[in-house]
Amino acid sequence: MADITISERQAGDVTILDLNGKVTIGEGSVALRTTVRRLLGEGKNKILMNLGGVGYIDSSGIGELVSSFTAVNKEGGTLKLLKLTQKIQDLLAITKLLTVFDVFDEESDALSSFE
């Protein structure tokens, strides 16, 4: 079974990625990288990453979030995070990355912030 499934939805010009599973070293991190790079290649550079279904993340997964964030920024876009689990919130706090990412609990609030 795949470590992670990533579903895509479009809300206006914002692409929402619903992640389910594990974002860990290996398959999970690679799948995320591939998806974000493909979206950028398609000119989709407003990305909202829904992490509500991510039960597990490690330092490699956190690194991939950062790497995605910088890749999107480099293309003049924005990447924001939605629905952090307590565990992910704790890891982002430890790494001080809560100061880097825009984080939302509600999808509607997140989408409004892109306008």
Binding site: I25, D58, I62, G63, E64, V66, I94, T95
Partner: protein, 136 residues
Amino acid sequence: MSETKELRLPSRIESVDEAALEAAKFAEHSGFDADFISAIDLAVRESVANAVKHGNKFDEAKEVEITFAGSAEGFEVSVRDFGPGFAPDEIPDPTNPANLLKASGRGILFMRSFMDEVEWFNHDGGGMVVKMLKKQ
């Protein structure tokens, strides 16, 4: 009374999951609670990933030796690689603003955050060992 379990795994990414799974099973069997096991799981993943990637550099001829020990004091994990070693204190602080956007370098921070004691030393027979303790 203390119990121990030893694993020798090849230097590939799949070993990270395998080690974490075995650690969780062992910790559960030893009676530790879910939060405790979650911390162990992350520390084992990070330490084994470091051993596979940075220590053994994915050389499958080199194994990663892992020992778990549960006791009244807590849960002890040691992970040995067969690489040239490194100086943990020279790893840049990933929480330094200059390093926040780096894609890697957070594993040791997680190990130190979720375990009570973490120390590295060179093994007499070669390679490097990280020994971690989470207290009850």
